[in-house]
Structures are given as C-alpha cells and as structure tokens.
Symmetry: C5
Subunit: 339 residues, 5 copies
Amino acid sequence: MTVTYSRRVANAGLGSFFHLLLRWRGSIYKLLYRELLIFTMLYCGLSIIYRFLLNEGQKRLFEKLAIYCDHYAELIPVSFVLGFYVTLVVSRWWGQFESVPWPDRLGVLVGGHVRGGDEAARLVRRTLMRYINLSGVLIYRSISTAVYKRFPTMEHLVQAGLMTAEELRQLEALPSTHSKFWVPCMWFVSLTMRARTEGRINNDVALTAILNELNSLRSQCMKLYSYDWISLPLVYTQVVTVAVYSFFLACLIGRQFLDPAQGYPGHDLDFYLPIFTLLQFFFYVGWLKVAEQLINPFGEDDDDFETNWLVDRNLQVSLLSVDEMYDSVPVMERDKYWN
Amino acid sequence: MTVTYSRRVANAGLGSFFHLLLRWRGSIYKLLYRELLIFTMLYCGLSIIYRFLLNEGQKRLFEKLAIYCDHYAELIPVSFVLGFYVTLVVSRWWGQFESVPWPDRLGVLVGGHVRGGDEAARLVRRTLMRYINLSGVLIYRSISTAVYKRFPTMEHLVQAGLMTAEELRQLEALPSTHSKFWVPCMWFVSLTMRARTEGRINNDVALTAILNELNSLRSQCMKLYSYDWISLPLVYTQVVTVAVYSFFLACLIGRQFLDPAQGYPGHDLDFYLPIFTLLQFFFYVGWLKVAEQLINPFGEDDDDFETNWLVDRNLQVSLLSVDEMYDSVPVMERDKYWN
Amino acid sequence: MTVTYSRRVANAGLGSFFHLLLRWRGSIYKLLYRELLIFTMLYCGLSIIYRFLLNEGQKRLFEKLAIYCDHYAELIPVSFVLGFYVTLVVSRWWGQFESVPWPDRLGVLVGGHVRGGDEAARLVRRTLMRYINLSGVLIYRSISTAVYKRFPTMEHLVQAGLMTAEELRQLEALPSTHSKFWVPCMWFVSLTMRARTEGRINNDVALTAILNELNSLRSQCMKLYSYDWISLPLVYTQVVTVAVYSFFLACLIGRQFLDPAQGYPGHDLDFYLPIFTLLQFFFYVGWLKVAEQLINPFGEDDDDFETNWLVDRNLQVSLLSVDEMYDSVPVMERDKYWN
Amino acid sequence: MTVTYSRRVANAGLGSFFHLLLRWRGSIYKLLYRELLIFTMLYCGLSIIYRFLLNEGQKRLFEKLAIYCDHYAELIPVSFVLGFYVTLVVSRWWGQFESVPWPDRLGVLVGGHVRGGDEAARLVRRTLMRYINLSGVLIYRSISTAVYKRFPTMEHLVQAGLMTAEELRQLEALPSTHSKFWVPCMWFVSLTMRARTEGRINNDVALTAILNELNSLRSQCMKLYSYDWISLPLVYTQVVTVAVYSFFLACLIGRQFLDPAQGYPGHDLDFYLPIFTLLQFFFYVGWLKVAEQLINPFGEDDDDFETNWLVDRNLQVSLLSVDEMYDSVPVMERDKYWN
Amino acid sequence: MTVTYSRRVANAGLGSFFHLLLRWRGSIYKLLYRELLIFTMLYCGLSIIYRFLLNEGQKRLFEKLAIYCDHYAELIPVSFVLGFYVTLVVSRWWGQFESVPWPDRLGVLVGGHVRGGDEAARLVRRTLMRYINLSGVLIYRSISTAVYKRFPTMEHLVQAGLMTAEELRQLEALPSTHSKFWVPCMWFVSLTMRARTEGRINNDVALTAILNELNSLRSQCMKLYSYDWISLPLVYTQVVTVAVYSFFLACLIGRQFLDPAQGYPGHDLDFYLPIFTLLQFFFYVGWLKVAEQLINPFGEDDDDFETNWLVDRNLQVSLLSVDEMYDSVPVMERDKYWN
C-alpha cells in the first residue's frame, strides 16, 4: 500500500520531518533492519576474532589491514554514484505513475456522446468502459505482482466481471504470441463504429474524439509495458550495488576499533560498536533501498502503487460515469451570486 | 500566503539578494529560530557539563570523543544528499503548481459557444462554470488544509454558493466510496449535451472542444490528487532527515571547544559559541526547511499556494467571463496605426 | 537589453570563449566591480589593523582566529549549493521565456479565416489582433519594470494606440479586484463569435481553432503571471545567499597573510592582496550574480528580456499579418526545379 | 536482447539487488572481464618488473614515481565527469526508446475508419498498415545493425513480405539521394485519399485524424534518424574516455605495493593484488560501460532494444488489428454489476 | 559537418570507446592542440626561467610561490562549475536541434489535401512547399554562418530557386524593420485560402489541419530565432571561463617541478613535463571545448548541424512529396501473409 504522509507535512513547523522518523510502515527501519543486523553481526564477529582469537603478530597484521581498508574505502564514491542513480530511478518511477491509464477522460466522452437511455444504449456504454478497464487489467497482470496474484488465470477475470466467457474465448482464439492487451481496444473500436452507424453517436467529430482518447489510453498501456520490458540497464544497477556493498565490506574491517595502546592515529577510543559506520550504513544502504523500492513500483512494497485499488476504483467510476450519471443534471437554480 | 519577491530582485544591483536577508515573513529565520535555539541550548548544556562537571579523567575522555565525532561527522555527505533531495522536491512542487486547474480556458469556450442572452442560457453558462469550480474545490478540500478549514463540511460549500442543496443531495446519494470530485464534471457533460440538443451550442466541433477542455481540467484535478496520494517515498525523506540530524548530533559533541591547554591540533582558541557550526546549522537545516515547506505546498506555510484565494478568484472570473462579458465588445473604431 | 553573443562563438576556435572575457556590457565585471571593491577594502582594512594597530598579543590571537576561520570556511559547501540553485534558476528563466506569448500563430488564423477585404472586415481583424497584444501588455505591466515605466498608467496604453478610451472605460467598469488581463481575451471571443455569425468566419472548425489558439495565449499570459507570483521560495534564496556571504566573511579574516616569521604552515609568503581569494570571490559571487540576473528576467538588467521591444514587434507584425498581408500572394510562376 | 529484471526486483526484500549480482547475461562481468584481465596482467607485469628486474636505485626511483602517480591520480575527477556524462547518455537512450514508432494507434484509426468487408477494402487496410511498417523498417535498416543484418538488401524486404517488387521498383526509381524512408508514407497518403474519394473513409474528420497520426509516426522515424545522425559530440565522449583511461594508467603505477621496508606512509602491507583498485576499475569502467552500451541502443548488446522483435510484432499486430479484428465485437451481454 | 559515430559504438565490446580516441575529425585533439601547445610553451618558459635565470634567493621565493599556487589552485571548483555549465549547454544544444523545422509533415498534408493533377494545382502545391522552405532559409540566414555564407544576399536566394524576383520585391517592400521570415508563411496562408475557395482543398477540417501544421513550423522557426537571440547569460559563460583559465594560470606556476634537493614534500622527482597537469588541461579545457562547440550549433565546427545539407534535403523532399509522389500508389496486391 502506498504510504501517504502529505498531510503530516503540510506545514513546516518545529521538526515536522522529525516526526516522520517515528513511523514504521514504509519506513527505512522496516526495510533495513535485517541488513543492519547482518552487518552488525559480521562486524562483531570480526571484532571478537580480532580481540580474542588472534595472537599478537596476527593482531598487528590485522591492524595494518584495517588501516589500509579504511583508507581505500574512502576512495569509493558511494554518495556520488548513488545520487545520480537514485535520481534516475525516481524519474522513471514518476514516469511510470504518469503512464497509469485512467479511464476517466474516456468516461466523459462515452457518457456524453453515446446517446440513448434504453437498455441497448446502456449496454453499449457499459461494455465500452468495460473493454477499457479490461485492457488496463491485462497490462497490469503482466507487470504487477499484486494484480497477477489476484487474477492468476484469465478465468479469474471472467469471474470478476471484467470480461465475459465469450470474450475470453475470442481473445484466446486470436493467433498471436504477443501480448493481447490491445484486443479489447479493437473491440472498443468496432463497437464505437457500430454505435456511429446506428446513430447512437450522432457526429463524426465526437467519433474521432473518442478514438483519439482511446489511443491515448492504449499508448499509456504500451508505455507501462515498455517500462517493464526495458529495465534500467542491469550494468548500472550492478555498478551501484557493487559500489555500496564493497564499501561496507571494506568498512567491516576498516572501521574496527584497534587497540588504543598501539597508538594508531585516530584510534584512541574503543566504543565496541562503530556508531558512525552504522549511521553511514543507515543512509547509504537506505538510499539504495529507495532505489530498490522504486525501480519496480508495481510490486508489493509498502510504497508501491496500489494497483488492485486502481482496478476497482476505475471499474466503479467508469460504470457510474456512463450509466448512473448518464444525462443526469440536478435541477438548475440561480446561484448565490446571480446579479 | 505566498511570499512574492520578484519585483524586489528585478535588477541585479549591489547586493540585491542581500536585501532579501532582511525579511521576516517566509524567511529562514522565522522557520529556523526554534530549532536553532534548541541546538544552541543543547550545545551550551554539553559545554557546561564538560567545563564544570567532569573531572580531569572524564574531560580527557570527552576530548577524545569530541575529536572522534568531529572526524566522522565529516564523512556524512549532508550537502550531497540534500542537493539531490531538494532538487527532487522542488521539481514536484512546481509540478503541483502546474497541475492547479484554472477554469479560464473553459470560460472562453463556454462564454463563446453557449449562445443566448435569455435567463435560461445565462443559467446554463453560470451553472457550467460553477460545476467546474466545484470540482476544483472538492479536490482542494481533500489536499489543502487551508481549504479544508474553510469548508469543514460539504454543507459549507452549499452556504458558500458553490453548490446547491439539491446537488449535495445527489452527490451524497451516489453509491461510491471513492473521491467524488468527478461527479460535477459528469453533470457538466450532461448539461453540455442538453445545451447542444437544445441548440444553444450550435455545432459539434464546439461541443467536442468543450468536452476536451473539461477533460484537461479533470486530468489536472486527478494529478493534484495523485501528487497528494503518491508522496515522495517515505524512505527517501527519512534518509535525508537522518543524515542531517545525525550530522548535527555529532557536531554537538564534535564541535565543542576543547581546553586549549591540552594542545589538540585545531583547538587553540575558545570562543564558547561555535559560530561556523551555527552557520552550517543555518544553511543545512535551512536547506532541509526548503524541502519541508515545498513537499506539501497546499499547507499553511508562508510560502504555500494560496488555495483559498484561488477558489475565490476562479469563481469570480468564471462567472464574469460567461455572464457579464457574454457577447460584450466595446464599440470598434480604427486604431492609431490604421494605414 | 539582451546580450547576444551567439555569433561570436559560432565556431570553437583558439580561445573563442576567451574573447568573451573582454566584453563590458552584460559582463561579470560590470555586475561585480562594486562588490569586489567593497570586499577588497574590507580586506585591506583588516590587514592594516592586523599589521599596524594590534599589539603582539593581539596579533597572536588574530592569527589563531585567522587559521580557525580559514579551516572552517572550507566546510561551507558554497559550490554545491550554488550549483543546484543556479540550475534551478536557469530552468525557471528559460521556462519564463518559453511562456512569452507571441501573437504570430493567432495572426495566421485570423489573417486566414476572417474573410473580407472591406473596411469592416479589416477593422475586425485589426481589432482582434490588438486585443491579443493588449492582453500581453497588461500582463507585462504587472511583471516587467521596463514596461511599467513605459506605461505607468492605463491612460498611456490608450495614447500608445493599444486600447481605445471606450475599452479602458469598460475595463475599469468591470467589478473585479483581480488582474483583468483576461478581459480583452473575452472581447476577442465575443468579436470572433460575431464574425462567425456574420459569416466572415465561414466554418466552425476555423472558429474552434481560433478560440483554441486564443486559449494557448491566455495560458501563456497566466503562466508568466504565475512565475511572477510564485517566486522561488524565499528560504532557498536566503540559504544560498547566507552560504556565499558567510563564506566570504570568513575569508576576510581567514585569508589574511599572517606574519611569515611566526612560521604557521602555509603562511610563508606575504602578497598583501590574496589573489586566489579574489578569484574565488569573482566566480562564486559571479555565479550568484547569474542567479540574481535570471531570477527575474523582466527587470532592466543587461541580460533581461527586452519586453518593450517585444511589445512593439508583436503589435507591428500582428497588424501587418492580418492587414497588409491579407490575401496577398505574389504572382505564381514555375520554380527553378520544375520537371 | 533486452535484459528484463523488473519482476526480480518487484519487492524490496533482503538484498533484492544483491541477487542481481549473480547474473551473467547483460552483466557487468560479461562486459568487463576482458578489460579487467588486461588491467590485471599489466599491473602484474609492472609488479614483476619492480620486484625482480630493477636494481636498488631503479627501485627507489620507481617508488617515487608510484607515489607521484598515486597523488595526482586522485586529482582526476573521474566520478564527476562520469556522473554527468552517463546521465546525459541515459536520457538520450530513453529519448530514443520513446521515439520508436508503434503502428498501434494508426491501426485503431485504419481499422475503424476504413470501412468495408470486401476484399478491396481489406486490401486497402492491409496495404496501409504494411506501408507504415515498411517506413519503420527502412529507418531501422539505417540505424540498427541487427535489422541491417536481417535485411542486407532491399530485396530481402520483398522476400519478407514487407514490400512488393513493384513497390521496390518505384522506390528505387525516385530520383533522390537522401533517405527514402518517407516514400511509403506518401503512398499511404495517396491511398488514404483514394479511400476517401471512393467513400471507404466516409468523413473528413477521420481522414484528417489518420493523416495526423501518420505524421506522428513519420516524426518519430525522423527522430530516430536524427538521434543516429547527431551523435553526442565526439569531444565529450573523448574527454570522458581519456579521463577514465588515464586514471587507470596512473593507477597501474601509483597503486603498486611498494617495499614495506622502505617505510613509505600507507605502504605497510603487501597484498600483491590491489583489491580496491580492482574494485574501482570495476565500477568506474563499469559505469563507462553503461554509457558504451546505451549510447547506441540499436546495436546487438545484451541490453539493446530488440529491433527485430519489434519489426515482427508490429507487422503482426498491425495486420491483425485491421483485418481479423475488423468490425469484430463479441456478443454483448449484461455485465456482473448491472444494476 | 556533423561527426556521426553511432555505428562505431553500436556494440559495447572490448574498448569500443577506446577506438574513438584514434579519430581526428571533430576530435578533442583537433580542437585543443593549439591551446595545449601554448600552455606547454608557457610552462616550459617559466621552467627555464626558474632553473637557469633566477638566483638562489629568487629560486626560494619562486618555490614558495609555487607551493602557494598549487595549494590554492585546488580550491577552484573547476569540475563542479563545468559539470553544471556543460549540462546546461548540452540541453540547449539538443533543444535547438529539436526546433529545426522539417517540412515533411506539411508535405503530407499539402500532398494529400490539395487536389488536382493539372499544372495549376501542381504550381500551388510546389509554391506552398517552396514558401515553407523559404521561411526556414530566412531564419537560417540570420543564425547560421554556413547558410549566410552560401546566401550572402537575398539575390542569392532568387538564384538558388528558393524565391522569385517578384517575391523578393514584395518582401522588401514590406515596411518593417523586424525579421521578415514570417512573410512567406502569410503568403502560404493566403494561397491556402485561395486553394480552399477554388475547391482544390475540399473541406474545412483539412484547411485547419494545414494551417495548424504551418503554425508549428512557424513556432519552430521562432524558437530557433529565440535561441539565437537569448544566449546563455554572458555572466555564466564568463564565470566558467574565468574559473578554468585561472586554474591553469595557477597551475603554470604551482605545478612546476621544484628542486628536489630542497626537500619540499611531494617534490622528490623532476620530470620536466608535468604529465598529469597536461592531462588535466586535456580534459578540463576539453570539457570547456564541448561547451564552445555546442553553444552555437549553427556555426561551422566539425560537430555543428549541417544546415546547408538541411536546406537542400528539405527542398528536394518537399517538392518530391507534393509533385512526383502526388496521388502515386503502386499497384496493390495481396501481401504474403494474406490469410
């Protein structure tokens, strides 16, 4: 479920972001605590080995190794690489949200231009809107784990009332190995053309406007499909992951507290737990987690788009728009500011 | 209220930005002074403990700790993380402003295409524009604290003349749990279709243009709703907040003035108040405040969008455009450059 | 006046950017020399105090202070903050230029679709274009200091031939406290509708195209107005200004040449004037000046948009397009490549 | 073939990016292993020379050289240059993907507006779609190595059924030395006009909508062609390559393990293989490889667009859309939510 | 001429960018070698003075100066300033390319909608397209040095067949001091309106589509003109140039090899030529050259847009589209996949 906190930060008061730190759902803690535990355990393990298991000579060697690791770890430009990478992931994430197809615009046109209060007309309007929703769900099934779990087979779509058994039969009969999300769009076209021929749509401008709007929706579906198909190049993701992981591997050794008695510069204190390294882990790996969460916003993370909610909302609003709301205007009366 | 200072910086003269530092409303001082006070007090508290309450041995330990904190605090890439994060927040902030629906374009089409000077025609035009404004206000109520305070219940909308009691009844009668901001849009559609049937709109091209413009407005409302619904991932905000806060926690200890007599490098002077750390606090936390202010521009910060002003302005200009200005052209005369 | 140097840098030759350093108008020197003078004088003042007025003990203290300031000044991430801020300002600057309304597109439609060579038709076409220009100028008056100086009162617009006295009267009679730049747009609509009724515009597609184009212009005017109204958040500008100014305040002390005899590291030489600090001043404050100049491109800086030129050019080209050029085609003849 | 891993990272779990490190196809290892081998061999070669072939005096000199190289290598801003460059390349890469022409939208219009179930009408519809696909393939042939290999001559297009022999003859007869990808577009126009004249397209709005859509496709083809023609300036690519390569050349010497007995600071240990330098090589050169892969996404890299798949998919879906799906609507029945 | 190397980097193989380093045309070497020579000569001159002409005391002073310069040169954030500046220049460069007007889309509409195979109709179609090309060339003449050289006077346009003598006469007769590139657009409008009146264009939708497309082209011309008129603020360019040049001025002194016998830290070796400083010069000044080349892409650099090629290509394709290709469809036959 999407984590909405806009209202919480409406006003910039005393530490308004500070309060966000106290949340659990969708929080960095929930995402990170396992990694942080593993990191801490590895660190402590190494620490125990250094303190209790090594002999003096090995200790000296380990200390040199630690200083060496500490020095070179700082050459890894983690923040730089992460900054550019996360910016890219965030822009794709928003691009994907903007490609989510909303049938509202088409609802306006179908509800307005397909005339007639009889059952046949109602059937046309409702069926048109159902086709649009069906196209969207077909795309969602191929990109969203949540929707796929809800509709594991096409049969489930029939049961959910998104398509009829006959439609499923025709869809499956079509000889094509490629994604068939566009087939309901073509049915939409054919049905619209019939409505024009039968005069339910009474002019060509409206007809073209409807088809144009359909095309916008189809393009958005295509775009969602493309975002899924053309991932960010694997190499980029690997480069970033290697940078972050290798930095913290180096820190495991390099940030050990060395025996203050040896007098290494910067090693006067022994805190047992390297609080600043844990903090760095916290926000570097946390930053990487931002990317992990957003790179595919159609998963089931706390912060992913609620696709199933979208499916339900869109179907309901579509049908209401073209049926209950058809030709409905409240009695008009003069408004308060009349003259 | 939005803080406008464009005119103040129209010309780049001697220190034209400098003068901006002397403002209070919407200023960094107003936003920050409480945090700065808290930080200073904590710093002074620690300073007093170090200077007066610790014994010699504890002092030496504290000094080592301070040097340790100072060293590691510099590893926290605050400016980097903030730079990328604030850039993102600013781009969303402007994206939200660009999604604010203005009914002006629809005013042009309704005022032009819905013909007739009789009361019925006036009623149609005014009602159409009122529907549009109502849709906007319904969205604002769900995203803007200021508008919500002004219209805490739907009844207030009726009193404000934005909707009639009958419209409220029909709106509430509609069986849907989702946001109903789109319902006035559908009334708009139905009323437009009637106007077409009755011949007040006398051609199909105009009709389609009006519905198209309506759809643009509806999409903008949807976009505002989406910006509110899909916040920036909580994790990102938390990462940035943790980075900034932990940096200044480390500074509380690390930037203490240590006893110059101990001869620690860089600790030759004792100023009691760390002016540069306060400056850093000033612009790092100030930068974070930019994000806090902009992340939800529909709050009541000094710099947030004046949604209530928008509501009033849009209603007034809408009604003037389609009623007073209907079919009004000043007597034409030859302009000065004629031949 | 805008400083155009594209032609100067058409080819990347030996030091083609170097020649740009030799310009005065719109240059960094012209913008900076006063600030640079003040900075140098303050620096020299402090230098004189240190060298001649302080006693030995005070000198030692001052030296410690200088080293302290020098160290901490480097912690201020001036270049980082400036980089992000200026990028933002530049993108808004270009966004504003792209919102400048050009009546050319409307000239094409009005010149093409409003038929008739008689005086009445000419009057309609010229008046339509004048309305558009008037709307633009009304906006410019509220955002551009240069245009406001040229037309300090509405009466000046009448004298300049942009509106008639009757139009001014009607404009002022309209009961609205909000900006009335949109009123000429509504006159345009009414006049266009009349032209359609009278048959001067002979089809509805053209009519809708004209109104659509009008709406684009109106949106652009609105956008200019919005850029003016919604400034970059004051806090951001203040953060950047504080960062830059405090950096150079710290430099005033921290970059003093200390007595080489004291043997402070890095203080072996005494040049009296810190050439590199002046250079830093030059490009850091210069970079800030880029922001100062661009943050409001409708002022009277050397590099601001020439709004008055725009007003003149647009009026002239508009009237020529729809009047002199109306129905004008040179005698056609076969071109050189015929067969 | 495009490497899709969206599904793999749908949820941000424990180390979800970590698993991506274990892939081979499209991975950084596959791209880098040769460069890494060469680098390692050169490093070892130099190491052997230093350890076994140089005499004492030469060793001392080499050591000084190594320290010198190590110091200055750090002045090369590799990460900075790479960050900006890769961001640019990625944005062009996505821009190219967004320019890929999909005939789906045109399929909707042709399938809807070109009426008639007879063979002549089917022929018109199929031929129209074939022209569009042909235009796309002509562009692909000039920019994509994969498509060029599949259709090395125009004759291959005829064999593949994308054009007829007669069409090829006419295409080649046209006297123009420029790319002729637009010729099938003009055939499309002529054929559409005939369909309008013959009444298969029965209104002018539809006609204009079709031509408008055709123009969108043509513009996209043009854009693909432009991306190919206007490469990123060679100088930029060279600057980045020189920065990365010279950094690692400097590392070859500067990161050698020097004789710990000489007591150079930071040279207390001898690991034979510089693990951190190899890591740096890994992600700096890996980052550059991201650019190498994306700068021309129409090659045959693991991560390039699958143009041949696109060609097949588009042809199949186009023909299905306008032929099998023509006027096809499943029997309508009341949906599950009826009343 | 544009330097295209897309095909060279289609596949990311072993060092595929490395091969790009071996090019001369459009290369960094060609652009930089003079600057690099000058820099090297200045460096050597200073080196000779230091080694042979200064006495011991002066040498010691020079050495201190060198160390001073070296230290402060590193404070100049060259890479940062360049990164942001070049990103900006590159985005404007691509923005300019996207504003280049292609008459192809208009060719589709004119070729389709202006009916008639007789000479008069051909003349109308060819003249319309010639007007469009003429508008483009008028803009190019004012922004592109290459096109201006080709057509130094308007008379040359007549000779090149782009306009007739009569058209030139009328153009010059028009009383306006502003750029007249829009005049052929107005002729286009008038001629289109006549074609509509004469029935060659047989419907209003087509007419409006043509005028709309014309407006797109006109806007693009305007945009090119604006990019030329509104340069990047001179101050920004100067700031960047000063930063880069002053950095290398400081390097001239600061990177001199000092007498190793003096034992300055980091000055143990004497290589005579500072290879790393030359490398830095190579990519910092090279990066600046990217900006110099792209800031005005209508010059005659190796990498600038080939405007003259564009002029020729566009004229040829325009005329072919509307004349040879008019109403031309190859004989239709069943495609390979029929049933």
